[in-house]
Symmetry: C2
Subunit: 303 residues, 2 copies
């Protein structure tokens, strides 16, 4: 009697992860997984708790729990420069931000808000006081000088204030600021497998990894269709969607790993995050060699 | 600015609905829906509460709320004879069941347990006392003479006791009994759309209906692959899966509607269910004519 069960896999049902889902919905790959669609913070929690086997986890939570997890090299959510949807929104130009500003942190964000703190404190030399607020612009700026926002709401604010207007809000792209500061890409989320699951079911993990990799590859090849599909439902015009998918990167190359390590090294100064192992992060590896370091010499996936 | 949102669609993540999901996972149709996978009782509740727009609903709950809902002719879950997974399990042969037996009703079942009550009381002439129990065979038979079980658990019990053994359990297929009694197929679940959603978004409902219809059609054409895919994960051998998918019917033809009406007419004697309208059930219809009665003269979908 067959005693297998489908792997429990997480999927972020947000616009920025549509290219990750694109191929999965066309190849039958979804028939072989028990897919859980949820917001990213819930998926992170489920993976850490062992209620998912494989799934996305925000970088900060991965760093907190890296002993229990192995990275899968695709997909990931990263950007090498502007990402458009992880923003510091200020009421004044950055130069006029008070020395001790009141800063709101979106409750749904873990990695974005820590990136914002690093930049505010270490790069812009401020001494902010922080409040966690609902992740919408009105709540976030009601009693604050600035706010870190992520996701679709941040993308809306970016488009609404892209052209500066007198008295308008100012939008600083935190992935662009990170690159300007460190020269490196910023990794916001990684996909990981629980260590004990990978040890028990390496073949399944390999299959899931390949399905994700093929899905992202296919979305890159069919980017016009991805944009048209998203434009049917999402409150952004096709040109904005195309620009967004162009900025997002869905795999981990060597430069992304350098960015991840740099973030990890700085993060331990801000939060209860142990430093990454010297040879970290640790990847899932199979005898077949598809895990671990990517094989192609220019491994970045650009849509 | 685009203000559309994807329709919120329910899917039963159970073995018997795999053929309904089969094509959806291969055509990209899932990209255009906000899919909620859950057990059937939860999906029924969400559709009735307005937290889903389109989805499966167990027949009994449809009959309770038919004023708010319009039927979509595919998919459905029905059987014209044995269904294998809706069973009355007895400790003795049926003829030896006491006149006032203690009968357990699986907590996850609505339509199956009402069908069981009808047969026990009106066909077999018993006066049972009922208890709702956990939907597993051990809990169900601990303090009872018989139990109504549904789904994968019922299918397991059917296979374990298919060949009668001395002292073994006796399994009565309630869909086969229904057909023997009425001459009609039994409809266990229908797919419905909320009336106000159908009025506001007929084009979307039509698209979702066609996606489901195509998905079931494809699973019929690729039944060997469906069985092989299910056999990879489900605790049943391929021959048992093939037999099960052969028994299940996934559309509503005229005979199924007659069976549905017959059940509705009897159900109102047992539960707080108003009689169906004389011209009911009411179907979603579009000007294009794909809603309502099916076009093909022999409308049963047999895998």
């Amino acid at each position: 009697m067959n005693i297998a069960r489908r792997p429990r896999v997480g999927h972020i049902a947000f616009l920025n992860c549509l290219p990750i889902y694109w191929g999965l919905a066309r190849t039958g790959a979804l028939l072989d997984v028990d897919l859980h669609r949820a917001p990213p913070d819930e998926l992170s929690r489920l993976l850490v708790a062992g209620d998912l086997d494989i799934g996305p986890i925000t970088l900060v939570e991965y760093l907190r729990h890296s002993g229990d997890l192995l990275l899968i090299p695709d997909p990931a959510v990263a950007a090498d420069g502007p990402v458009l949807s992880v923003n510091l929104v200020t009421k004044t130009p950055l130069a006029e931000l008070p020395a001790a500003p009141r800063v709101s942190l979106a409750s749904t964000s873990r990695t974005g808000v820590l990136l914002g703190r690093m930049l505010l404190e270490d790069r812009y030399g401020r001494k902010p006081s922080y409040t966690v607020t609902e992740p919408d612009i009105e709540s976030a700026l009601r009693d604050a000088d600035a706010a870190v926002l992520i996701g679709d709401e941040a993308l809306h604010v970016f488009h609404a204030h892209r052209t500066p207007e007198p008295g308008g809000l100012h939008v600083l792209d935190l992935a662009a600021e990170w690159k300007d500061w460190t020269g490196l890409p910023m990794v916001f989320a990684v996909w990981a497998v629980r260590r004990e699951y990978a040890e028990a079911h390496p073949g399944i993990v390999k299959d899931v990894h390949l399905a994700f990799r093929d899905s992202v590859q296919r979305s890159r090849e069919e980017i016009g269709e991805v944009v048209a599909s998203a434009a049917r439902w999402e409150p952004f015009p096709p040109a904005a969607l195309a620009e967004y998918f162009e900025r997002l990167q869905f795999g981990l190359g060597e430069r992304h790993l350098a960015g991840l390590r740099e973030f990890a090294s700085r993060a331990s100064r801000y939060a209860d995050i142990a430093p990454l192992r010297a040879d970290g992060p640790e990847f899932f590896e199979t005898p077949g060699g598809i895990g671990g370091a990517r094989i192609d010499p220019e491994p970045e996936i650009r849509l």
